[in-house]
């Protein structure tokens, strides 16, 4: 997939649709957003065309800095858990035989056929009072009354991990599949313990997959506010929810634009960091 389009000599006419698409749907909206973030809100309605830095100053208030911190915290926590679950999953999947690889892959892909929202509603059925989990726990006499599992922080983390896990698994898998296991065997022959073999051979060679998995899960988890809304009962305030609210009920487009701009800069810093660490511009696994 990677070298399907060679850079440089190709006929620009063939690239024209891509240019049009990029300009129309990527460059212009971003430009518009950045411009908007320096304007001020009109008294009753819309936007005033006067330059201001007020929107960015407002982000520095503890309240809004707090929402950035909250978003980062949730993103780090979810990404950490995803690494713990996803890395071994992808790694061992790559070691399976061809038939099982296919089956495992299918199991990961099937949930993607339904909408993310519907899958999240599935978790509501599990977590709600007198829901599936409550019934099981009470049936086993572990608890005696319904727990309040839904609309809590753990419920949100579960939703995040569940939604983003496949990205990590696929990234690690594609890296681990390229790993030559005879190298591991050679190190074992030469007397390395299995842990040492993993630490010195397997891990470094699958690191690009792991890192791109982290990027692919961390960045979306900064923005997936609807999971916090649905499973957290709107009680966890993430940057995404503030942007959404400022655009709709707050009717303050410039402030929403400024928040989006900062979020965008934060995430592009993450990608820069990834490039620095791996020396590669491409993400393993999905791109």
């Amino acid at each position: 997939m990677r070298s399907a389009v060679k850079k440089g000599k190709s006929n620009w006419l063939l690239l024209l649709p891509m240019y049009i698409f990029t300009i129309l749907f990527v460059a212009l909206p971003i430009l518009y957003m950045f411009l908007l973030s320096f304007l001020s809100r009109a008294e009753v309605w819309g936007v005033d065309f006067t330059f201001t830095l007020e929107n960015y100053k407002r982000i520095l208030e503890p309240l809004y800095l707090g929402t950035f911190a909250e978003s980062l915290k949730l993103a780090f926590l979810s990404t950490g858990l995803i690494v713990l679950i996803g890395y071994p999953y992808g790694y061992f999947m790559a070691k399976m035989n061809a038939v099982w690889k296919k089956r495992m892959m299918l199991l990961i892909m099937i949930p993607f056929l339904t909408s993310a929202l519907i899958r999240l509603y599935g978790w509501i059925i599990v977590f709600r009072s007198n829901g599936v989990l409550d019934k099981i726990l009470m049936g086993l006499h572990i608890t005696d009354k319904p727990l309040k599992l839904l609309y809590s922080y753990p419920a949100v983390v579960v939703g995040m991990v569940y939604s983003l896990l496949p990205f990590m698994i696929l990234a690690v898998y594609s890296s681990a599949e390229k790993l030559d296991f005879s190298l591991v065997e050679a190190s074992r022959d030469l007397g390395a313990s299995s842990l040492k073999a993993f630490w010195t051979i397997s891990l470094p060679l699958t690191l690009p997959g792991l890192l791109s998995g982290i990027v692919l899960t961390f960045i979306p988890s900064m923005g997936l506010f609807f999971i916090a809304d649905i499973l957290g009962g709107n009680k966890i305030v993430l940057v995404g929810s503030v942007i959404h609210e400022q655009l709709t009920k707050g009717r303050n487009q410039p402030f929403a634009a400024a928040l989006s701009a900062v979020l965008m800069i934060l995430t592009s810093l993450m990608i820069r960091l990834y490039k620095k660490l791996t020396g590669s511009a491409e993400l393993e696994g999905l791109m």
């Binding site: 240019y19 300009i23 009753v44 809304d229 009680k235 966890i236 009920k249 009717r251």
Partner: protein
Amino acid sequence: MKKWITLLLCAGLTVFSLAGCGKAEEGKSASGLSGELNLYTWDGMFPQEILRGFEEETGVRINFSHFDYDEDMLAKLEETQGGDYDLVIADDYIIEVVIQEGLAQKLDTARLENYGNLNPVFMSQFYDPQNEYTVPYGAGIPLIMYDPALTDVEIKGYGDLWNPALSDNVAITANYRVINGITLKALGKSMNTEDLATIQKAGDKLLELAPNIRVINDSNTQDYLISGEVAAAFLYSSQVSAALTARDDLELVYPEEGLGFGIMAGFIPSKAPNADAAYAFIDYINRPENAAACFEYIGYYCTNKAAEEHISEEMQQMIVLPETVTEGEIVQNISQEAEDLHAEIWNTFKTACD
């Protein structure tokens, strides 16, 4: 060369996309005699039989276009400068802006035979104090409901939601002007105060509500009550109707501190291509039987006094305003500083709920 082309493209596309904005896709009735009514409101605001009945009776074809948000409607009207649509039904606060911008035309109420049927409680409001431009069509009144089986607290007003016995047991809607508004009301203040100190005081009071909040959601808030996830909820009219339909053992409370109204109203845009049809339609939907059918269908409070007796027994409790209610306050557009403070209070509150 490449840069050149990119630049040209950029310029070309900008012009092209701007030009595209100017054209409305719908409702291009060329003359006032085209016999089309261009109706613009939310989806599901009229039962099919009413729309069909009007078409059969008058021979006017209804061209229904709908919007999701009031803001979209305003943008569209600004674009067409009050043209293209004959009748628009939208929320109170946005109508204030529409009138201010001169996008609505004055009504000749003498042309409306059924004008006298309207309920004055829902008229002469801030957005149209003299009733010059609008005719109400449905009202929403967020109310408290609770499940007596799940709590011993007898809820009479907003203040009771603060009762510690309701810890982690209350669901509320997510509109911060409304939630901060009822907090102001619980303090005996106006929802629309622009006094920052008063708003801040309400903010402090709202923070004390945080331990009781189980969930904040604007859509399907009634579900938490129906499924027993919470003991009490503060929810919108249509949700109250839905909850009562599902479980009639729930208690409905008209808070003693006073009510918040949200009124939907119809107006004719300033350059409506076929205002005559709009007058005919407004008159048609305000015949008592027709109005009853409409309000039973949309599940909002009936704004037509004469229609009330035509509303079925089981819907009476949900959509007919009790006699005791004579007024309600509406959330209005307020100063930017006050609006921003409300937003800040809300986010602080939400963070505290977690």
